[in-house]
Symmetry: C2
Subunit: 111 residues, 2 copies
């Protein structure tokens, strides 16, 4: 599997906006043209394009233009990278809880 | 289990900064006082406190003051909420891949 270098600052920042999260949601269902993407949003096309641009800069989305039609798709490895960062830290926290539990159990046996 | 309402905008925005992610990392190892937290960072205390404040507003961290000592701890349910959002969307994307794969297999059998 190829190694992807994801800028977590940009990826988390891109996800910190409800319109951009909604775009990510829709692209997880499959690639969409910009005009398909714009349908459910009460947004002017330039505003939508700005959000798409932020998502592209973050690595979460890529797009290709064929003629006058730009099609966007999700880049799952970037989503995986953000999930991996959070998951890894939850795991550290849970391991600490396990150690605390084991320590308490040992203390109880010693009583 | 209690239901927590997490503001994903604030949570992802809080994680979009390397110092704040480093604070989250350290707090996953256990609660820390503000002065313990400040040790590895080349940061003035007011700057560190600002980052802690952003993390508190996002719900990722809470702190308590006892006398002159403020102790911070991670709020794992908030980390879980951000992970859950990403995980759910990766799952949608993977289900789509599975459906595409099944469709291609059916097409091949028909040939």
């Amino acid at each position: 599997m190829a190694k992807y270098s994801i800028d977590l600052d940009q990826a988390f920042s891109a996800l910190a906006d409800p319109t951009r999260r909604a775009i990510v949601s829709r692209l997880c269902e499959g690639p969409k043209t910009v005009s398909e993407l714009s349908e459910p949003f009460q947004l002017a096309l330039p505003s939508l394009l700005k959000h798409v641009q932020v998502l592209e800069q973050s690595g979460l989305v890529t797009s290709e233009k064929a003629g006058r039609v730009r099609t966007c798709k999700i880049e799952p490895h970037a989503l995986h990278a953000t999930e991996a960062w959070i998951h890894q830290h939850i795991a550290v926290w849970e391991q600490r809880l396990d150690r605390l539990e084991a320590h308490i159990a040992r203390m109880k046996r010693k009583r």
